[in-house]
């Protein structure tokens, strides 16, 4: 579960870190990818993993479009964070209700041939969909790390993040880089959304739930820190798994949130220093 939230959260973290845009509609984009995967699976039996090939480019272009026409005007605001939050909250509402119109409010479940397979390693049980989600998420996180560290564009993104002015001096086209980052961020939400759909049932409203969790994972891990988000996700997963053995299940969620609070108080910059 943790790694999947991490994949869903990376993009959120990227756009926050690079552009100071808090994208409230992030999870809603992920949910669109989940619905697309569902529709493709139902109509042509296309495996959800393959559906990513369709939804990721689609979301990338949609995001670039949104960046160009909606986010550019607010980058001059006094506090971009604040304005972007309001803007993307609006986008999230619109997306949710568009989904409601297109796909109806019925809850959906992704069912594939390997849905109910399981691997047992010692005392641990791993369900196939969870494993698939984990692997896909790790791959996604890996690809993004690779992109950021080793490609020219990725390096420019990191530079823009750390020293926007200096980066511009060195000939980095900030506008273009920002647009690509935002596109990538939203596209990664698409991949994350499909992973989530492996684990949970979803309906148009579900994105707000995902958003809260990915917010937690991203921040506790350290804003903009990809590996941090992955570790924070894993920690939440481990807390949930272990606590059942020691205390009544109804206290699990409370314990999770309580521990996250304590972690943050002890480490005010998140688990890991935020750096790309």
């Amino acid at each position: 579960m943790g790694s999947v939230y991490a994949l869903l959260g990376i993009g959120f973290s990227l756009s926050w870190g690079v552009m100071k845009v808090i994208n409230i509609s992030h999870a809603a984009f992920g949910l669109i990818a989940a619905f697309l995967a569902y529709t493709l699976l139902q109509a042509w039996g296309l495996d959800p993993i393959l559906s990513i090939a369709v939804s990721v480019p689609l979301l990338f272009f949609a995001a670039c479009f949104i960046y160009r026409f909606l986010i550019t005007p607010i980058t001059q605001a006094k506090e971009v964070i604040v304005s972007s939050m309001i803007l993307t909250f609006g986008i999230a509402i619109i997306l949710e209700n568009l989904m409601l119109l297109i796909w109806s409010p019925d809850p959906r479940v992704l069912t594939t041939s390997y849905t109910s397979k399981v691997i047992i390693v010692g005392p641990f049980y791993f369900q196939y969909p969870r494993l698939a989600g984990f692997l896909m998420a790790s791959m996604g996180v890996g690809i993004i790390q690779f992109f950021l560290k080793l490609t020219y564009t990725g390096k420019a993104v990191r530079a823009a993040w750390q020293q926007p002015d200096a980066a511009q001096l060195y000939g980095v086209n900030l506008k273009r880089i920002s647009m690509i980052t935002f596109g990538l961020a939203v596209a990664s939400a698409g991949a994350g959304g499909v992973c989530m759909a492996y684990l949970y049932s979803f309906e148009p409203h579900t994105h707000s739930l995902w958003l809260i969790y990915l917010f937690l994972v991203v921040i506790v891990g350290g804003v903009g820190n990809v590996l941090g988000a992955a570790s924070a996700g894993l920690i939440i997963g481990v807390i949930t798994g272990l606590s059942l053995a020691f205390l009544p299940y109804q206290w699990v969620n409370l314990l999770t949130f309580g521990l996250l609070m304590i972690i943050l108080i002890l480490r005010p910059q998140g688990l890991f220093q935020s750096e790309v």
């Binding site: 506090e79 309001i86 609006g90 993040w161 609070m261």
Partner: protein
Amino acid sequence: MVSSSNRLVFGVSILLFLCLAIFPWFGLPVYFVSLLFTVFMFVTLATSWNLIGGYAGYLSFGHVAFFGIGAYTTALMMKGLHLSPFWTILSSIPAGFVAMLIAMIVGYPCLRLRGPYFAVVTLCFAFVVDLGIKNLDILGGPEGLWLKSPDLPIETIRAILFEAMLVTMMLSIMLAYWTSRSKFGAGLRAIKEDEEVAQTMAINAPRLKIQAFALSAFFPGMAGGIYAYYLTYIHTDIVFDMMISILIVLMALFGGGGTVMGPVIGAVLLTLINEGLSTFVKAEFARIIYGCLFIGVIIFLPNGIMEFFKKEHRVESGISLAENGGNRSAA
């Protein structure tokens, strides 16, 4: 100049207060009283949130916790002490103090966090309180609490609650007004600009932040207490609804954070427009229009609606919150 503007503000507020105060006694349908009651509630919440979120730049996403704590304190006091209706309304004042006390306890460690980390820690705090009450049967547990409604006609009950909420709202706006012109407010603004610099200017930042946080929790607690009495059925899903937290933040920022009138305008506009949309437009389309409204307004007024009123008085551009957080953590 200042004093004449002061006098005008006072005059207008008192006039407005009186106009609003007699509103429920005109025999209009109870719904309008309830609607305005809700508007006042959100104005109170957004204005109070603005103290810590708008002035000091600490975005608290857990303010619903104080609202809920107020509601539950009142409900439990009423149940435990068998209060009469009159005392119940007054019991929202101790409810406010309970919220304030909890804010101080929680604020002490949490206010050391900055930017997004503070936002998340308050979010977690709201969940912890919510789940704690849900899991403890003595506090109502998953079933919630029922309050006894007094044997008065509904119009009277609504009118009394309306007045109570109106007074709460007026007090919270007065506090905001005072803050905006006091040293206290200036200190908070300095913290928002740059906390380190503020520290060197002999501003006791930790103390100011705690004070602001505690004050910003007091009125939500009171509002929660009054609201508990309005609803007569209290459940964690209702009074700890995360949507309230998000709405408060959006209302304040939509209107314009760090200003006195911004949260008021934001809360009034968003509540009324949403209500109007639900009334006249089919469900999904109403939501879509509501979403477009956010986008439309923010593209043209990226700093909130207040900008529209004071276009000519451009405020000095501050360093944005995240830039602060980001730079510091990168350093």
